[in-house]
Amino acid sequence: MQASRQTRNAASALLDPRIVGPALGSAFKKLDPRKMIANPVMFVVEVVAALTTVLFLRDLATGGAHLGFTAQIVLWLWFTVLFANFAEAVAEGRGKAQADALRRTRTESVAKRLRSADRRAYETIPGTGLAVGDVVLVEAGDTIPSDGEVIEGIASVNEAAITGESAPVIRESGGDRSAATGGTQVLSDWIKVRITAAPGSTFLDRMIALVEGAARQKTPNEIALNILLAGMTIIFVVAVATIPSYVAYAGGVVSIVVLVALFVTLIPTTIGALLSAIGIAGMDRLLRFNVLAMSGHAVEAAGDVDTLLLDKTGTITLGNRQATAFRPVRGVSEQELADAAQLASLADETPEGRSIVVLAKETYGIRGRDLADLGGRPIPFTAQSRMSGMEVGTSWVRKGAVDAVLDFLTTPSAVTAGSTLRSLQPAVSQEASRDIRALSEEIAKAGGTPLAVARDGRLLGIVQLKDVVKGGIRERFAELRRMGIRTVMITGDNPMTAAAIAAEAGVDDFLAQATPEDKLRLIREEQAKGKLVAMCGDGTNDAPALAQADVGVAMNTGTQAAREAGNMVDLDSNPTKLIEVVEIGKQLLMTRGALTTFSIANDVAKYFAIIPAIFVAVYPQLGALNVMGLASPQSAILSAIVFNALIIVALIPLALKGVRYRAVGAAALLRRNLLVYGLGGVIIPFAGIKIIDLAVSALHLV
């Protein structure tokens, strides 16, 4: 759905007057040679356009021949430059609109700076006056003045200004949700925030700079491509600059305007004009996905990723285990087990506990009972007991980790230390405990988690909890495999469980019982093999791995440390998006490649248009090369230069939208793109130039 949204946006950018209007203006502003020089190919076009303008003015003053023709060539040369600038301006325009919206939210905020971190006495200063290390108090209704770490308190925060998501999020001290972002608003309660960003370099500032394209630097591939294009430009300088001498040898002359026309059509203006628009549009596409890339390099690296490290929870599975079956021991009915399990889970507010209640209700119609009605006493889950349960009168139920429940039933100390209401039954039947162990092993092997249930000293059976793999994720991984990307699932589960989930989800490999150190080591190993690694993370302990990875996507809900370490921030905090990020990276590279190929392939037709036109006066035999049957030498040259300019405009939507990526393997992808952009690039200009030539001669333009 998001994909279709962005496509529509890209296509409509050219129709949106709010973008096109300013873009037209800035197309002229960008004519400033100091700005043009960043784009060598178009800079050269501007120089020769200026040169021909001077020549035209000279001819105009001295009354030279073919003034109308020269004027049109000069005009279209300037159009070529302007169209290139326009493409860039349109690409920037969409970001600019977003930046303006962000700026409006960055109102001059007021900070309540605490005199010392442990007291609540504060002084009110402007937000811009804050230094790194200051501690501020932010209360309900206040805007957080700058980026920082929550050091005390808990609050719900509206981060819509940055994420566009209006549902408030919780920010609290400690843990993985301690990052406070400047410009967001505290809705309830209060927090103390230690400022970590200097004024002007906050997340919001960086975001504005990024979407505006002010911080845009050329990416490595873009630099290499620019060198290639500059090199080709020089080659064509040589090819064209030697022509007057050759023609002089043959006893003719060739005008500079015509040579300039040949030169401009031959140099790769199409890709040169659209190169920066493609780059900006790539960043912009990410933004539309609510992913903020801190550098273009990261976007490009995403396209190159070989290995994707994905956290199991939340990315591959739905995040919480859910009860899927009741497995009683012999002599116990499922109904009885379900009843006890539900009773033991009534007080359990975790998603797992709730799923047990729901499952019992759905499969056996056992209604959730009101605790108060039962008059029971809930036993909450603790890390020590690893069980939860309920005591009603003399009766009790427990559910929890298998070992914990067995221990609870067999250990005498546990028995005596427990409630007096419980009848002593020290000897659990050997048979039942064997059953339980067999069942739990079976469940673990299948990737589930067993929870034992006991009632009044008797083992009833097992509740099977299972990680639910997200729908469609298997297909996504198959797609990634076709792209040549290996997926590795990271999980804290034991290897047996991890293997089962990995098999179900269809990942290529998994790292079980993973510690942050393991993650870091895995990344380094992959990189040593020459691979590029992408991962996402949110916790502070993820920070080293995020920094080490070639593409590290930090969740916006994560800690400040994680956000600093990654080179992208996902504002929606949706780890599955890593896959889209990879696709956008690939799309960016593909679009550049496709338009480069197209641009170079175009030259064949342009040669056949202009070469006979230039030389036919000297050697009439060369008219045979006029395979397109163009009306006259002048209309041939004009048609070629018009085509050359118009093709830029025609390709702006493609540059903004990007060439669609299909996960069909490199060979098939290449074959398809070569057919479309290579062969198409050879053929289209023949047709295009011919059509323009027909129009030119019909209108008697020359």
Partner: protein, 567 residues
């Protein structure tokens, strides 16, 4: 075109392809420093040479040191050869008492031989003493060829080594290449040529009395040994002015076939060396495949153009193709084949006069050279020239699979692209640039024998041949003038070293990189698709550069000829 002609062409191709694997295997062992069947004899000699030269066999060089060694070596070679040429009159082994070679011609010739061009602005038998022919020219024939091969090997090491600093030791590679590869093959080849009737003597010319009673001087000399290395090392400088069209250089149909095979043998085998060293022989075959496509296309055009002959001659009843400037014993098919081979490789030996070819027939050799002689190419030079085009191809189209372009596991980035473009753009700068100067400079124009587009082709061919280090001549142009000697010499120097230095920089940059393992997302570079793409990029990027020049030369000449006008 006849079936017989095509069968001969295909036999040639089959032999070349059959030699690729054995020679590739052998050369790979030589350059990996492994034992070879010849080691038992040659290893002691090799070790003596290292001791004499003070070379530490185990010490490798980085790309800069390797390149500097190569340059120092060539400067030394140049000075030695220049001195020999200037001083030959006072030196021994000069039974014909040849006088000292003038300075500009000496410069041109010395550059010509150290750059593996072997452009000859002189007639060998009437200008050079035996000492110069053997010590100066044949010696450089070996070393310029060996240096081409080792540079290609160094570039291959750039692709094959992982996170490495060094790309080999120039001196060790040079010694091993000469000793293990060139010497044994040349000895075999020389013996073969002597058997076929090529002279090998240090005696003076033979005086003969013709049937009419006139005195004729028949030049002889140490011909066979020079012909052997001129072909194997793609040097091309003939002992005689008429080169391989001379019956003493190329006496029989068999010697002609073996000489053609010899031109391609090492260059084609180097693609296999590449494949072996990067661990996937298919990569080598793909390169050879691209070369093969361009080669066969060239042969087809030339053979067709020559067999069709020219309209005006056909109109006079002289049908049966264009035999002007061709040896009857070779005929149209083998003359066309030889012309394409010698210009596809940077050999430059000729068995027919390219100037007398039809316009299109003569255009193919021109295009072969203008593409940078990457179709098999000069020994070594062809491979590194082709790899430079591969880098550009990979970069242009590789992005289309959505990854940073990679070739045999090495990422192609800004530095490689920069160097590759530098190497590619320097060639047209030389041959188009100097042609542009020559065709408007009156003293240079005076050297042109034929008017109009044909004369233009002669000048273009001369500079193209020298820039591409080919050495074949279109004839018709009086090249032995100070202007052509000096500008030609510069073209040869730039055409050789301004390609080598970027190529070595690429080698250094690539060697330092990690190897990216191939995956389903990797651009496949061993199949037909890649071969087609590579050919397309070579034709478009290489071809578009000189299309205007060709249009004003051979193309217009051809169009005029079909209309009945000749120049």
């Amino acid at each position: 075109m006849t079936l017989n002609g095509w069968i001969q062409i295909l036999i040639f191709c089959a032999i070349v392809v059959a030699l690729v694997v054995p020679l590739g295997w052998y050369m790979t062992r030589v350059f990996e420093g492994a034992r070879t069947p010849l080691s038992i004899v040659l290893r002691p000699v090799e070790l003596v040479l290292y001791r004499l030269g003070g070379i530490d066999e185990s010490r490798e060089q980085d790309w800069l040191a390797y390149t500097v060694s190569m340059l120092v070596f060539h400067v030394g070679g140049f000075l030695l050869l220049y001195a020999l040429l200037r001083l030959q009159v006072w030196l021994p082994l000069n039974p014909q008492e040849m006088s000292a070679v003038p300075p500009e011609l000496s410069f041109n010739t010395a550059v010509s031989f150290i750059t593996n061009t072997n452009w000859q602005n002189y007639g060998g038998e009437s200008t050079m003493s035996y000492l110069v022919q053997m010590l100066g020219l044949t010696h450089q024939n070996f070393l310029s060829a060996a240096s081409g091969i080792v540079l290609a090997v160094a570039l291959i090491r750039g692709f094959s080594r992982v996170s490495a600093h060094a790309i080999g030791n120039f001196w060790v590679d040079l010694v091993r290449c000469t000793l293990y590869v060139l010497m044994p093959l040349c000895i075999l080849f020389t013996l073969f040529l002597v058997w076929q009737g090529v002279p090998q003597t240090l005696g003076p010319s033979v005086e003969a009395t013709t049937l009419e009673g006139a005195e004729q001087t028949i030049a002889v000399g140490p011909v066979a040994s020079q012909v052997a290395i001129k072909m194997l090392g793609t040097n091309g400088g003939g002992f005689f002015n008429a080169n391989a069209a001379h019956p003493f250089e190329n006496p029989t149909a068999l010697s002609n076939l073996v000489q053609m095979v010899a031109i391609f043998a090492l260059g084609a085998a180097l693609t296999n060396v590449f494949g072996r060293m990067v661990g996937d022989q298919r990569q080598g075959w793909a390169l050879l495949g691209a070369m093969g496509v361009l080669f066969l296309a060239g042969v087809a055009v030339t053979y067709w153009a020559e067999a069709a002959g020219s309209g005006p001659l056909n109109a006079l009843g002289l049908d049966g193709g264009n035999m002007e400037g061709k040896e009857v014993r070779f005929g149209i098919a083998l003359s066309s084949l030889f012309a394409v081979i010698t210009t596809a490789a940077s050999c430059g030996a000729v068995n027919a006069m390219h100037d007398s070819f039809t316009a299109l027939g003569g255009m193919v050799p021109l295009i072969n050279m203008q593409l940078g002689e990457i179709i098999v190419g000069g020994v070594g030079a062809g491979l590194y020239g082709m790899l430079i085009f591969v880098i550009v191809t990979i970069f242009v189209a590789g992005l289309m699979v959505g990854r940073t372009p990679e070739y045999v596991g090495k990422k192609i980035e800004a530095r490689e692209v920069k160097m590759a473009m530098l190497a590619i753009l320097i060639l047209p700068l030389m041959y188009l640039g100097w042609t542009a100067v020559a065709v408007v400079l009156p003293p240079a124009v005076a050297s042109i024998a034929n008017p109009g587009p044909h004369g233009f082709s002669e000048v273009l061919y001369a500079y193209t041949s020298q820039t591409a280090n080919n050495g074949s001549a279109f004839a018709g142009l009086t090249g032995n003038t100070p202007f052509y000697n000096i500008t030609g010499g510069l073209s040869m120097l730039v055409g050789r070293f301004c390609v080598i230095i970027p190529a070595m920089a690429i080698a250094g940059a690539l060697a330092a990189k990690k190897r990216v393992p191939a995956s389903a997302g990797t651009f496949p570079t061993h199949g037909g698709l890649f071969v087609g793409l590579l050919v397309g990029v070579i034709v478009i990027i290489g071809g578009l550069t000189f299309f205007p020049a060709l249009a004003l030369g051979p193309v217009v000449e051809h169009l005029a000829m079909t209309a009945g006008t000749t120049f």
